[in-house]
Amino acid sequence: MHDVVTFQRVSKRFGATLALDEVSLSVPEGQIAVLLGLSGSGKSTLLRHVDGLQRASAGSVSVLGTDLATASGARLRALRRRVGFVFQQFHLVGALTVLENVCTGALGTLRGPRLGLFTYPKRVRQEALGHLDRVGLAEQAFQRADTLSGGQQQRVAIARALLQRPEILLADEPVASLDPESAGQVMGLLREISAEQNLTVLCSLHQVDLALSWGDRVVGLRSGRVVLDRQAAGLGRDEAMAVYSAVARVPAAA
């Protein structure tokens, strides 16, 4: 299986802080890679580099054969179309219907601005409804998005990302705002979809247990450096927890 995401000695500097420090990482197609680490360890920054929402200060990022150092404008948008993104705070427009929120996932393939469900082509609406059905929310299609619970809103956000027909799905702490039951549902959904569509998933998490049970591979970050990179199977809970301790040294090898 070929690699779809390749980071080579990537550093990112925000003023005086070094958010990423010479990160090298390759993710093969179809893998679920989980990023673990404290707040501020660089997990979100790393994910945002995959989608070109942020640009590396040094090193190279290559995603689906596109070099993100040079891509801009139409080429960058073309890449983003192939990469779905799910956020901790869902990022839905509360005042719009659930279905219209999902439809915004198709904007990359449509021309011109859209506002109002009727401005989206019928095939887009049909496909969007299909994805809502997939995440179990077809019945709520015409409710306002802000009338849904947190877990439901996150599933809508996943349906929105699926409408892009992505080859890679990025999830930035997708369950950090959810209760344990909804968190399990959302992670299970990601796992199923990944298996169904051979979708590569990069997901940052706070909970070691979730990482071990839902991920194929666990990558630990501390202060912008990769301090752990192992297959989830056979990785002990204590070894994974060590990512969170400031003093413990974890061998940075796979």
């Binding site: 929402l53 983003r80 859209r114």
Partner: protein, 537 residues
């Protein structure tokens, strides 16, 4: 503990900026008291005017309404001008706001340019714009639409830009992450979030423009205001007051209607209808039908207004060719040899604004307190005082000024009293709103200690709302300085007299001088307000 508790201060040491802020606020209050007494506003003046009131009533009643057809025509013209002007301001404000908001602006130059244009639009009073445009486009509707439309951008554009800056960036990031372009990002990530605020601001501006349209009538813009001005010029108080009454009714109706629409906007529509299998558009629930009907009615109203305002594109283009020459008349500023008179009149305007703000605050504080839902002794009392505020807000300041000119004679007292009463409408509402916005949990915590109603009010409600009060009073002072300028047009004292007079005798350089003086004054107040907010906030 290094020192015994008994030796420590139980009151904090006074801080420098805090003291300075207190001194400035007290100075403004003192200036208000001095201005009121200097203008001769006292019990004797008020008693005198009671006598005039009886006389006035005799000349005013019975009210003489024009024929139904004529009345409809006047109302129709006024509404058409006001709707068209508000629409123009919205159309100009949306792009201005996108350029001016820090999160959507393409670059710093566009941002500064757009902000400057918005400030400039607010700085030039609509009456002055109307004077200019009437010279360019002639008497009628066009001048009114352009004057109100452009001036409104000063408020609408600013509030739109603020709304855009306050959005949740999340949906926008999500849309961008999906590969959307810039215009798609704005339409799908930004616009849905700000739409309720946009509509609500437009409706608010519509209310304001409806009141302003009366004033514009006095300089020649068609509609009810023009008819009122003609009637008063012929000392026909029966007709003038009848028309003023019609304006009042229109304003109150508009205020109630736009309030209802704004409330409906903030309520989430319940659309729990289950979609039929395979259906990809929302079902026609009653709420969806209602929303579509509202939309259709709004579109028809706008179309009817554009038609009713008789805006001719040819006349517009023709006028534009004359715009340069006309603006040339206003430059350079001239004093017409009456600079000392102008400065004296400006000083009177300042006194009117200060005294009116003080009197207005004295009236508005208790009324606002009684109108606040969480403070009013009973819901009924709250509703009565809310209603009173809405009613006063509905009265155009100009109508108040005309009434007081008749009651107390031409001059400063009339202007001061008119502005003071008018201030109750704005300041009372702001006071009531900021009281209602306080954190209830804090009030409950104090209530839980066994505090009385007054104790809760004093130690939980007031401290939370007090900084806003100071801001509101300064805002009112700013509004009053601008209004005090304009009320001179109907003889209510101050520099407005010279503004009207200079434009009538075609000394446009003097108009510019008056404008610059008022602008400098308003800026000074603005700077004080900004400084106080920083120190107090």
């Amino acid at each position: 503990m290094s020192r015994a508790v008994a030796e420590r201060r139980t009151l904090p040491a006074p801080s420098g900026p805090g003291m300075a802020a207190t001194v400035v606020v007290l100075a403004i209050l003192g200036a208000g008291v001095w201005a009121a007494s200097d203008l001769g506003i006292n019990v004797a003046t008020l008693v005198d005017s009671v006598g005039n009131a009886a006389d006035f009533a005799r000349r005013m009643f019975p009210l003489d309404f024009p024929s139904a057809g004529e009345l409809l025509r006047l109302c129709g013209t006024t509404l058409a001008i006001v709707v068209s002007a508000t629409l123009l301001s919205v159309l100009l404000s949306v792009p201005a706001a996108v350029l001016a908001a820090g999160n959507t602006t393409p670059n710093a130059a566009a941002r500064v340019g757009s902000r400057a244009a918005i400030v400039l639009a607010r700085a030039v009073p609509d009456v002055v714009l109307a004077i200019v445009f009437i010279r360019v486009f002639g008497l009628g509707s066009m001048a009114g639409v352009l004057a109100m439309g452009l001036h409104s951008v000063g408020m609408v554009g600013k509030l739109y830009a603020d709304a855009v800056e306050q959005i949740d960036e999340g949906p926008r990031t999500a849309v961008r992450a999906g590969g959307a372009g810039r215009s798609q990002e704005l339409a799908s990530g930004v616009l849905p979030q700000v739409l309720p605020a946009f509509v609500s601001t437009a409706l608010h501006r519509f209310d304001i423009n409806l009141r302003v349209s009366v004033l514009l009538g006095f300089v020649g813009v068609d509609g009810l205001g023009f008819a009122i001005a003609s009637a008063f010029r012929e000392l026909d108080y029966r007709r003038g007051m009848a028309l003023a009454f019609v304006v009042l009714v229109l304003c109150v109706l508009a205020e109630l209607l736009s309030g209802a629409i704004r409330r409906a906007l903030t309520r989430a529509p319940l659309s729990r209808a289950r979609p039929a299998p395979g259906r990809i558009s929302p079902p026609w629930t009653p709420s969806r039908v209602r929303r579509n009907v509202y939309g259709l009615v709004a579109a028809l109203v706008v179309l009817a207004s554009l038609w009713g305002a008789e805006l001719s594109p040819a006349g517009f283009v023709d006028g534009l060719s004359r715009l340069g020459t006309t603006l040339g008349l206003f430059w350079p500023p001239e004093t017409g040899g009456i600079l000392p008179d102008l400065l004296t009149a400006l000083w009177v305007t300042v006194k009117i604004a200060l005294a009116a703000t003080l009197l207005g605050a004295v009236l508005a504080l208790p009324i606002g307190v009684l109108a606040a839902r969480n403070v009013a002794p009973s819901p009924r009392v709250g509703a009565v005082f809310r209603g009173l505020i809405v009613l006063i807000r509905g009265i155009p300041e100009l109508v108040l000024a005309v009434v007081f000119v008749v009651l107390t004679g031409l001059g400063e007292v009339a202007g001061t009293l008119a502005l003071a009463v008018g201030a109750v409408g704005l300041l009372g509402k702001l006071v009531a709103d900021s009281l209602e916005e306080v954190d209830e949990r804090v009030e409950n915590a104090v209530r839980a200690t066994g505090a009385t109603r007054w104790q809760v009010f004093a130690s939980a409600t007031v401290p939370q709302a007090a900084p806003a009060f100071v801001g509101h009073v300064l805002y009112q002072l700013d509004v009053n300085i601008r209004s005090a300028t304009l009320l001179g047009i109907v003889g209510a004292g101050g520099i407005g007299f010279y503004l009207q007079n200079a434009s009538r005798v075609l000394e446009f350089g003097v108009v510019t001088t008056v404008l610059l003086l008022v602008f400098a004054l308003a800026m000074a107040v603005e700077l004080i307000a900004v400084w106080l907010r920083r120190v107090a906030g």
